[in-house]
């Protein structure tokens, strides 16, 4: 009687539930009490990371229905996705922006966990799994950039291989293992495809599952209160009391903020995808095209910048030792600072460290966006010398300006804000270098400037120096060598002006 009064879907539910027997577990897990103060917008980043991981899996599978993991065809299949299949561009954009959002949200999640002291006893293992998940998220971002298989991907692999080759003794073999052969080619793409599509996502799901399981078993980290110290002997009891004295059921009282934020993040990904479109691909992965300036994706720009600043003598040791120290610190953190204060008000060293690291990474990333250490390869033909610098100049000076362009000086030296930033801007060079000093600098180089003595004929040097000597503000005279006028006053017969190249 009772059985027949049920709807068909209730009967189906009962049929399945009597077999899988998950209802009690789900009910208990969702209703488990959490400290009421943790129902906060600060606690939404972990769940958002997981939602983004799921989004990446869904969009990734959709892309895999079209993408061809072959060095000869990958780039073309991306063009098909971008331009021929309906909304293929949108799915690529969702996957690309989803990747950026995921790295960003995982980093924010990690900062929040650090600043709230959540890695302390008994959640050390949760933190360790989290560090692994961060590394795998970055691994996914890097291997995903390689699957784009454009010029940036190709030369990014080149940079990776060059770094690997610096490993002592096994460098050569390690490069071949990384590339799957002697050069960057089909085998390289295939192995990064396997990594990106099978190895890393499967491991990430397993780790993320364990990560969430630990959160369920140990409870969400309580809101830090200054003066409430973590002690191994009493913590579990205190936490239990807190959740029962001042606790609320996770569903629905806390979870709605997670759900709301997840929706906002997914919308933000879709919005960026629709407005800004997919990333690349840039030029074809043709190694014979040397007219390229490879740049890594946004979240790897800081590494790219750091590599420009390392002094050559310590570069190789630093490349291998610094990550070991950095990761070692992250892994050791929950054991070094396992107990004690959680509140940021009482952890000045932790807060300052976080600020320094964040500002450091942000600065390096910002520098990486315009790479002032790189010559602007097209400045000599693309950027112009401002009119006022050649206005009313002599033929010799104007010839000098031409040589300044023709000999690629502009690639490293800016004039009027245009041109490279590798060397100093030369807008007022004449005020701080005398004519002789400019001649010496041009011919012999130095201070990280190549010597141009062999690339310039003497008349060319004369002309370019004449031009550079005009580069001073109208109200400021060019620098002169005082000893030269003294020397000249000693020789009464010699009456030419000091600036001998000036008419």
């Amino acid at each position: 009687m009772q059985e027949s009064s049920k709807h068909w879907y209730e009967r189906t539910y009962d049929w399945i539930e009597s077999r899988v027997q998950l209802a009690d577990f789900v009910r208990e897990s969702s209703a488990h009490p959490v400290p009421s103060k943790t129902a906060s917008w600060w606690y939404v980043f972990g769940s958002a990371s997981f939602v983004l991981l799921l989004l990446q899996i869904v969009t990734g599978i959709l892309l895999a229905t079209i993408y061809v993991p072959s060095a000869g065809e990958a780039w073309n299949s991306l063009q098909v996705l971008n331009h021929q299949l309906p909304l293929g561009w949108f799915l690529r954009a969702m996957h690309g922006w989803g990747s950026n959002f995921m790295v960003a949200v995982v980093l924010i999640h990690m900062m929040q966990v650090f600043i709230f002291g959540a890695y302390k006893f008994p959640r050390e293992l949760t933190w360790l799994l989290g560090v692994c998940l961060l590394l795998m998220t970055l691994g996914m971002a890097f291997s995903g950039q390689i699957l784009r298989f454009d010029q940036d991907a190709y030369w990014g692999l080149g940079i990776g291989a060059s770094i690997t080759s610096r490993m002592p003794i096994i460098g050569d073999q390690a490069v071949h293992l990384m590339l799957g052969g002697p050069i960057i080619a089909g085998a390289t793409l295939s192995r990064f495809f396997a990594l990106h599509v099978f190895v890393l996502p499967a491991t990430m799901l397993a780790f993320a599952g364990l990560h969430v399981w630990l959160v369920l078993k140990l409870g969400i980290n309580e809101w830090p209160t200054p003066g409430r110290l973590v002690r191994r002997e009493t913590y579990m009891k205190e936490y239990h009391e807190l959740t029962h004295r001042d606790g609320i059921p996770f569903v629905p009282q806390a979870i709605w903020k997670d759900a709301m934020f997840a929706a906002a993040i997914i919308f933000a990904v879709a919005f960026c995808a629709a407005v800004f479109g997919p990333f690349g691909p840039t030029g074809t992965p043709d190694p014979t095209i040397t007219q390229t300036a490879p740049r890594p994706d946004f979240f790897f720009l800081w590494i790219y910048s750091a590599l420009a600043f390392l002094p050559p003598s310590v570069e190789t040791p630093l490349i291998f030792i610094a990550p070991v120290i950095g990761l070692g610190t992250l892994f050791a953190l929950p054991f070094i600072a396992s107990i004690g204060e959680k509140s940021w008000y009482r952890r000045p060293v932790g807060v300052l460290t976080l600020i320094v690291v964040a500002v450091g990474l942000a600065t390096l990333t910002h520098l990486g966006t315009y790479a002032p250490w790189s010559p602007h390869m097209s400045a000599w033909t693309a950027d112009e010398i401002p009119d006022r610098y050649v206005h009313g100049s002599t033929p010799l000076e104007r010839q000098g300006a031409l040589i300044f362009k023709m000999k690629q000086c502009h690639n490293c030296h800016a004039l009027g804000g245009l041109g490279g930033q590798r060397g100093p801007a030369l807008d007022s060079v004449a005020t701080h270098l005398t004519e002789d000093q400019i001649i010496r600098q041009v011919i012999q180089g130095g201070g990280n400037m190549p010597a141009y003595g062999a690339a310039l004929s003497p008349p060319e040097v004369t002309a370019v120096v004449a031009f550079l000597d005009t580069l001073h503000p109208p109200n400021q005279l060019p620098a002169t060598d005082a000893s030269r006028s003294i020397a000249e006053t000693d020789k009464p017969a010699f009456k030419e002006p000091v600036e001998s190249t000036k008419p």
């Binding site: 080759s165 390690a174 490069v175 080619a185 040397t290």
Partner: protein, 232 residues
Amino acid sequence: MNSDFDKQHPGPRESASASSPVVGTDSRVAGRRKFLFKLSIAINAVIGLLIATPVIRFLLGPLRPKGTYDTWIPLGKVDDYPAGSTLLAFFRNPTTNPWDGETGNVACYVRRQSNDSFTVFAVNCAHLGCPVRWFPQSQLFMCPCHGGAYYADGSRAAGPPERGLFTYASRVDGDTLMIQAGQLPTLANQARLKSPGDCPGRSSASTNFQLVKEIAPCRKAPNTGTNEPTIG
């Protein structure tokens, strides 16, 4: 049909206590099962090792003894490269797969100092492997990544590289320019070539001679550029 089962939602503990017969009361049977359990783990470990061996060998497939990837390949006619010039040249890597597409191609710079003297540079910057670009006007190779710069003879001019450009060994075979190539030039497979023999600007013929005759340190790279005629 099995609606009773559906309604009851039997928990695992419940059903176990109700129906599972305790067989292991005989200690001899229990001991034998324990032994068989351990044996099954041991057998699986052996089988696992057996399977792991070919898997590891497969994964290490790309590893080969040093230098075996390199072979001598032609890089066109000698007359394609006018004396005093530095030109971008391409070749197909000696080992490729059909699906490598254009990634199987490799670029290099051929510098012909005189009629019988060639230097073939890799395009990969000695710092981190980015493609350097040749500027004949200023007689410089410039790298777009971290600002490495090299003189026409390949020696370091500026920036982070610690050494000059990588070179391929080259020789003239009749009217054909041959180079020894086959793998991505990196510090691991190029660093040792610099000393004793292969100094930038020294021809490959004399390199071989040097290697046999004496271990001579490279003379310090001149920092005043080259004696190349300039253009423009």
